[in-house]
Symmetry: C2
Subunit: 109 residues, 2 copies
DNA sequence: ATTATATGCAAGTATTTACTTGCATGTCAA
DNA sequence: TTGACATGCAAGTAAATACTTGCATATAAT
């Protein structure tokens, strides 16, 4: 799994918006998703392709319609491999930080 | 809190690497961080500034040295406001998705 | 004082990314 | 089978991002 693609995909507000829309209603077509996006269909398509490439969205063809489904697994990966790791040390880091500040203010006092 | 800046900051592998380094050893100087980065000091500085802008890194000046400290709070925010939301519906979404697939395979059979 | 070290500022280039426009293809419905 | 609808493909433009180079400033060490 290419976590870089996931981060890159999430970096754009438009793409996050698309994920939100699918979160609100799963299995939407390109055209449906376009209605709330202030850009051409092509632009939206390209964003959706990136989301697909990052495996955040899966697609099912239904006749001439392309239905988009959210795949939350990569988000989970990001949490596991990235956020959790830092979270675990959250309090410790904050502690270190404050200690440093205090050390500066009254050094050896 | 500007969550877009956080996502943008995380979108670059170099910046994620810097966060990793600080996670490994907190409070490093620019120069120290540069040693493991295959680019000029200026480039690293600019990345660090973006991390600072996203509030992922805090800085303390110590004489001529600039010490960088990790701030995991924005990561937590991302989890809270983004990942968790999707996680909660993870199983449900997967369920919907499979049902859709099945429905296509043997429609009304 | 002089030199070395740690960093900043700013302009310029190169690469990447976002978005558009125009046309092509395939599916559905009358 | 014709017309409307859903989407794809591809080339081009505009804007954002990553990175560099050259010089300036401040702190520390000798």
């Amino acid at each position: 799994m290419d976590i870089d693609k996931v981060f890159k995909a999430l970096a754009d507000p438009g793409r996050r918006r698309l994920l939100d829309m699918l979160h609100h209603e799963n299995g939407q077509t390109v055209t449906a998703l376009c209605e709330h996006m202030d850009m051409t269909r092509q632009a939206v398509t390209q964003h959706l392709q990136q989301l697909e490439g990052a495996n955040l969205v899966a697609v099912i063809w239904q006749g001439r319609e392309k239905l988009h489904y959210l795949n939350p697994v990569p988000l989970h990966e990001i949490y596991e491999r990235w956020i959790g790791k830092f979270e675990r040390n959250r309090l410790r880091a904050l502690h270190d930080f404050k200690k440093k500040l205090e050390g500066d203010d009254h050094d050896k006092a």
